[in-house]
Symmetry: C2
Subunit: 390 residues, 2 copies
C-alpha cells in the first residue's frame, strides 16, 4: 500500500494531485517543503510556518547531528517536540551537506569521514548511522545516505558515485527499523540519462516507499534539468511519491509538477528573501531598489500574506536599508506564503483538469531570474569539494 | 489640565499610578516603553509589541532623520502608519544620539553640527528643527533638544551643558506648533544636586506638559542615580508626568517608581535579550550556558510569554548556539513580556496600597546584575565624544 493516495492525474501532462500519508498528518501534494535545517525555518516560529499553510518541512540530519546533537534531540523526545512542530518532517540524510560543506572527505565503501564545518572535528558517517540518526530524530520521511558529486564531474565519476549510492541505499534499507518513518531512495546519475535510468531501475527493484531525484538544479542548464526529470520519472513507479530535492524556484516547480514530481524542498525562497528578493506573480523584485523608498503600497497587492496585508513596500525597504532583523522575517513570510499559494493553485488546477493552461499562464507571467539563480547556485557550489579517492 | 490623570499616590513612597492621555490612546502608568529607534522594536512586528501588552513605544528622531528621512516618513503619513503601530509613540529629539553616536560635533548656542554615524555626511540640528522634525514624524510625546555630556564631565562642563539645554528648551517650546503632540522638557545637571534643582526649577517655570530626567544611569553608582532622581523629582510639579530616560533594568525601574517616576524607556531588555540574557524573577540568566543544553523546561515556568509557553530552554539554547535569527526574537518576546508584567504588577501594587512591600519582595528576590550592567553601559559610553568647544 502506497503512502501516496493519488486523487487526480492529468491527461495532458504528468502532473498529479494526491495526499501523502505521514505519522503527523496528511500532506496534500504537490507540496513544497520550507527548509529548517537547524530545527527552525529561519526567522519564523513553527506556529507561523503552520499559519502560512505548510504541513511538512525539511530538517537536516547533518546540521542536527553536529548541533545540538542527535542524542540531545532524542533525550528531548525528538525533533517534533524539540521545535514545537506537530506537522510532518522530512529529514535529509546529510549526504549533500557532507559533500558540500565539510572541508575534508575520505570516502570508502564503508562510509564518509568528514570534518565539521563548525569546528573542524572529525566524524565518520555510514549508511547505517545516517539511518539510525534520522530514526532517532523522529522524522516522518527520512532519506538514504547518497554520494553527491560536483556538477562538472565526468561520466566515470558520476557512475562511481551512483554505485556507492546504490550500495548505501541497500544498506540503509537493511538498517531501517521503524516502518512508521518512510525511508526514501535517492536516484543519482548526474546529467546522464542512461545512468539515471539504471539508478531508477535498480532502486525501484529494492521497493522503497518513495523516490527522490538528487543532484539536480546545481548549475546545469534548465532544459537539461527538465529532461533528466522527465527521463528519470518515467522509470519510477507511478503509485509512489516522487521527490525532487533542492528545487524551489517557482518556474522549476511548475515544470517539475508537469513532469510528475510530488514533493519539493529548497532554501531558495527563504534565502533570497533574506537578501531582499521577493516573489510576485510577474517575477522576483529586489525590495532594496531605491524605487521602493516611498512606495506606499504592498510589495504585492494581490498577496494575502501578513507582510502585504500590514506593511508598505516603503517600510520593508526601510527595514532592509537599516538591516533590521524584522526585514528578514517579513520577507520570509511573504516568499513562503507565495510558495504555499503557488502550490495550492497548482493543486487546484490539477483537480480542475486545467493544469496545462495554468502552467502556460504562470510561465507567461512569471519572469524567471535565471541569471541570479545561476549566480547563487554557483556560489553555493563553489564550496563543493571533490571527494578524495580511496 | 494635565495629560496625566493620577489614580492613586502612595503614602509611604513617591510611587503613583495614573493614566497618560495621548492622541493614540490612554497609557496606564507607571509605564515602560520598548525602544524602536528605527521604527521597529528589533525583531518584532508592531502587532507583537501590542500583544505583549505595550501601549507606548519610543522611536528616535536622530535615527529616523538619517534613515529613511523625515520627509519620507511625512509623505507616508507619519510614523504610526509607516510602522503600522496605532498605540502611542514617544520620540527622543536625538540629542543623546548626536552626542553619543556621531563622530564629530561642533556645538554652538545655535545648535549642533554632527556627522552621520552611517555615512559621515554633515548635518546641522537646531532646537527648532528637532521640534519640527518630531512634529512631522507625528509622535504623541516629543522631547526638547538637550546637550548630553560624558559621565566624567566636571561641574563647569555639566553646568554649561545644562544652560544650553535650558536655552534650547525655551526655543523648542517657542517653535512647537502642534499642541496635540506634548513637548516634554529634559532636566539635566549630571550628578550635581544643586544643578539638578536649578534645572528643574527653571524648566518648571516654562510650564511644559511633562518633564524628563536626562543623563542618568550612564555609569554612575546606582545610589547616586537614585539620590539624583529623588532630588530632582522633588522640584518637579506633582501633577505632571515624570519620565526617566534610558533606564530599564528591572531593579532600577522599581527604585524609580518608588521615587515618583511615571515613564521609562531603555534598550536594555531588548539588547540583552539578543545577547542571550533573559529576565527571571530571581535575576538575569544566560541561556547560552551549557547547563541549558538539555533543559526540557521553559526559561521561566512562571512566565506567560509565547516563548515560555511554547519552547524549552534547551531549544532557545540551541537557537542561540546556532546563531539562528529566531533566537533573538524569542528572547526579545520573553524579556519584553517580563517588563510588561513587571509594570502591571507594580501598578496593581500601587492601586492596592501595597507598593512598599512589593518593592521589598521584588528586590529581595531579584539579583541585580550590576557588573554586567556596568560593563554594558561602559561599552555604550566608550563611544561618547566630548563636544568640541566653540
Amino acid at each position: 500500500m502506497s503512502i501516496l493516495d493519488l486523487t487526480k492525474t492529468c491527461t495532458d501532462t504528468q502532473a498529479r494531485a494526491g495526499e501523502l500519508k505521514t505519522g503527523h498528518g496528511i500532506v496534500p501534494t504537490p507540496v513544497f517543503c520550507p527548509v529548517g535545517s537547524q530545527a527552525t525555518v529561519k526567522t519564523l516560529t513553527a506556529e507561523e510556518v503552520k499559519s502560512l499553510g505548510f504541513k511538512m518541512i525539511l530538517c537536516n540530519n547533518y546540521h542536527l547531528y553536529l548541533r545540538p546533537g542527535i542524542e540531545t534531540v532524542e533525550e528531548l523526545d525528538g525533533l517534533h517536540r524539540f521545535m514545537n512542530w506537530d506537522g510532518a518532517i522530512l529529514t535529509d540524510s546529510g549526504g549533500y551537506q557532507v559533500f558540500s560543506l565539510s572541508p575534508l572527505i575520505e570516502l570508502s565503501d564503508e562510509g564518509v569521514v568528514f570534518r565539521s564545518h563548525l569546528d573542524g572535528s572529525r566524524h565518520f558517517i555510514t549508511p547505517e548511522s545516517a539511518t539510525l540518526f534520522q530514526e532517532k530524530l523522529g522524522a516522518d520521511i527520512i532519506m538514504v545516505l547518497d554520494e553527491c558529486v560536483h556538477i562538472d564531474a565526468d561520466y566515470d565519476k558520476v557512475e562511481k558515485a551512483m554505485e556507492h549510492t546504490h550500495l548505501w541505499a541497500k544498506r540503509c534499507l537493511d538498517a531501517h527499523k521503524r516502518p512508521a518513518q518512510s525511508l526514501f531512495a535517492i536516484v543519482q546519475g548526474g546529467v546522464f540519462p542512461d545512468l539515471r535510468r539504471r539508478s531508477a531501475e535498480y532502486l525501484t527493484s529494492l521497493d522503497f516507499p518513495g523516490y527522490a531525484l538528487g543532484g539536480l538544479s546545481l548549475g546545469e542548464a534548465k532544459e537539461v534539468t527538465y529532461n533528466i526529470i522527465e527521463e528519470t520519472v518515467s522509470h519510477l513507479p507511478k503509485d509512489k511519491p516522487c521527490y525532487l530535492m533542492g528545487v524551489g524556484a517557482p518556474e522549476d516547480i511548475v515544470e517539475g509538477v508537469s513532469r510528475g514530481i510530488d514533493i519539493f524542498d529548497c532554501v531558495l525562497p527563504t534565502r533570497v528573501a533574506r537578501n531582499g528578493a521577493l516573489f510576485t506573480p510577474s517575477g522576483r523584485i529586489n525590495i532594496g531598489n531605491s524605487g521602493y523608498k516611498k512606495k506606499d503600497v504592498p510589495v504585492d497587492s494581490s498577496c494575502d500574506c501578513y507582510t502585504c496585508k500590514n506593511h508598505s513596500a516603503a517600510y520593508i525597504h526601510h527595514l532592509f536599508d537599516a538591516k533590521e532583523l524584522l526585514a528578514y522575517r517579513l520577507a520570509t513570510i511573504h516568499n513562503l506564503r507565495f510558495m504555499n499559494n503557488l502550490m495550492s493553485d497548482i493543486r487546484q488546477a490539477i483537480l480542475d483538469g486545467k493544469f496545462a493552461s495554468f502552467k502556460s499562464d504562470f510561465l507567461n507571467n512569471y519572469k524567471p531570474t535565471n541569471e541570479e539563480v545561476r549566480i547563487e547556485q554557483k556560489k553555493k557550489w563553489i564550496e563543493v569539494r571533490h571527494p578524495k579517492e580511496g
